[in-house]
Amino acid sequence: MEKELRLMKGNEAFAEAVIRAGADGYFGYPITPQSEVMEYLMAQKPEEQTGMIVLQAESEVASINMLYGGAGCGKRVLTSSSSPGISLMQEGLSYLAGAELPCLIMNAARGGPGLGTIQPGQADYFQSVKGGGHGDYRIIVIAPASVQEMYDSAKIGFDLAFKYRTPVLVLTDGATGQMMEKVYIGEQHPRLTEEEIKEKYPWATTGKSGGRERNIITSLDLDPYRHERHNIKLQEKYKTIEENEVVFEEINIEDADYAIVAYGTTSRICQKTMQLAREKGIKLGIFRLISLWPFPKKEIRELSKKVKGILCVEMSAGQMIEDVRLNSVDGAHIQHYGRMGGVIPSPTEIFDFFEKNYIKD
C-alpha cells in the first residue's frame, strides 16, 4: 500500500499522529508556539472519527491533572504546551510519575526564563531530564528533529509510556513545531475498547466490575518503609529504561576527528556546519541525541575517547553539556556553543566558533 504524503507543520503532524495512534483524549491550554496542536484537533473533530475527545482546559495545571484522571483509567491521553505551561505541569508530572501512570506530553519549547520569548529555545533540558518536579523520578524524554519525527514520536511515545507506565515527554521547540516539511502519514490504529483496557491494564480504575478488588491510583503512602520500597521499585524501572531505551543517531562519526553533540533543531543546523567543515577537509561528525533521558552514557564515553574534541551546541547557556561532561573521559576537550533568548544559531557562526576553538589553536 502506498503511504500518504502530506506537507505539514510539525505541530500539525504531531496532532494528526496522536489521532492515528489511537489516542483517547487531548487536554490542553493555548500557548505559542504550539497552539496549532489543539487548533488542528478541534478542526479535525476526532470524536466523530475515532471517538477521541479534545478538551480546552482552564489551565495547564488542570490539563496535566486531567491526564492523571484519564491515564488512571488506562486511557491514552496527552497534552501539549510550551515552556511556561510545562513549568506549571511539574507538580502533576511528579504525581503521574509517583502513581506510575502513562501519558504523553509535548513541549514546543521557547526561550526563557519567565515569559521569555515565543521564539525557539532548548533551555528546558534540565527541567525535562532531571525530574522537573519534586521527588526522585525521571520521565522518558525524546527529541524529534524533523516533522516526520514529530509525527513518529506520537506512537513511539504512547508505546513507551504504556510499556513502562511512565509519562513520556516529546521535547521539541518552536522551530520544529512551526516548520513545514513533507510527512508520511501512517495507518489509523484503533482506540482500545473498555474490555481491552481492562484486560491489558488491570490496574486501571475502570470501575470494579468482574468481581475484582477495588483499584487505587495514588502516589501517597504514609508508611515510610513501604514508600521507600515503592521508590526502589521506581529506580529499578528507571534502570531498565536506561538499559533498553537509549536512542541516538551518528552522522559521519565513523571517521570523525571531532564531533558535535546536539539534539532537535540544533542537530539539524549542525549538519550544515559539518558540511562546511568537511569541505575544508576537517573530519567533523554529529552525535545526535534522540532520547535525552535515558542519556546515551556509554556511547558518549566512547565518543569522548575516540575524537580530539566535542562541541556541544544548544539553544541554551549550556545544559546538555553537563551530561556530556559527566559521561566523558577525564581531560576530554568539550566546549559549549549556544545562543539564548530565542536566537537560532547559524551554521557558519557555529563553524567559526568550532574552527577558532578546536582547529586553530
Binding site: 483524549g25 470501575g207 477495588r214 487505587i216
Partner: protein, 264 residues
Amino acid sequence: MDGTITKEAIFKPENIVYKKTSLMTDNILSYCPGCGHGTAHRLIMEVIDEMGLESETIGIAPVGCSVLAYEFMNVDMQQAAHGRAPAHATAIKRLMPHKTVFAYQGDGDLAAIGTAETIHACNRGENFTTFFINNGIYGMTGGQMAPTTLPGMKSSTSPYGRDLKSMGHPIKMTELVAQLPGTYYVTRQAVHTPAAVRKAKKAIRKAIEIQQMNVGLSFVEIVSNCNSGWKMAPVQSNHWMEENMFPFYPLGDIKVDGKLIEKK
C-alpha cells in the same frame, strides 16, 4: 435455658436494623472521633450500593484529612493533587461517560487551591458529582485558616480571630457555583443529627441520579465539624456548628432542576 442471650440468638436477619454497607471497607477510619468525614463517606457509599453502582463508580480523593478516602471507600479510587479532583473527574467522565464519577473535597481543597478547577468544571457543566466537606478550616495540616473560616473565628493562622480587613471574607463557594449555568443541582446539607443524616442521604442520592441524567454538575456541600481543628469536644463542636456555621452557611437546596431557589 439459663436465660443467657447468645450472639447467635441476636445476629439474625429479622433482627438487623442497621448494617454497614460492604462499600465501606473494614479499615479503621483515620478520622478523629466525632468528625463528620466518616459519616459523609458512609452515606455516599450507601447510596452507591443501594443504586447498584458499585462496579461502575470511580471516586476521587482530595488532599486533606480525607486524602485516605480510598482506604475506606470500597470502589475504584484515584487520589488527586491538592485541589485538582475536578480535573480528574472531568477527564474520567468525558472518557467514560457511562460511569458514575464523584470528587470528594474539603474546603481548602475545593475553595482555595482548587478554585479554578471547581469553577470551570461547574461552568462546563461536567456530568459528575462533587461532595464538598466544609468544616471552615484546614483540618489535616493542623487547623489553619481556610477560605471558609468564619469572621472572627480563631485558627492557628488567625490566632486572634479572622480579621476581615486583612484576611478577607469567607467564601460561599456553593452559592457561587449555583450561579453558573453548568450546575444542575446544588444543595447544602449537614450530618450532625439523625434527621440531618437522612436529609443528606436523600440529597446525595438525588445528586447521583442527576449525574445519570447527563444534565450538568451536581454539587452537595456538607457543612461539617472539625472538632480537633476547632479545639472542641465532638458534641460541643456540633453545637458550635449549629450556632455559628449554619447562620453563615444556611442548609437547604440552592439550585434544583437547573433553577435557583428563590429566597423568601
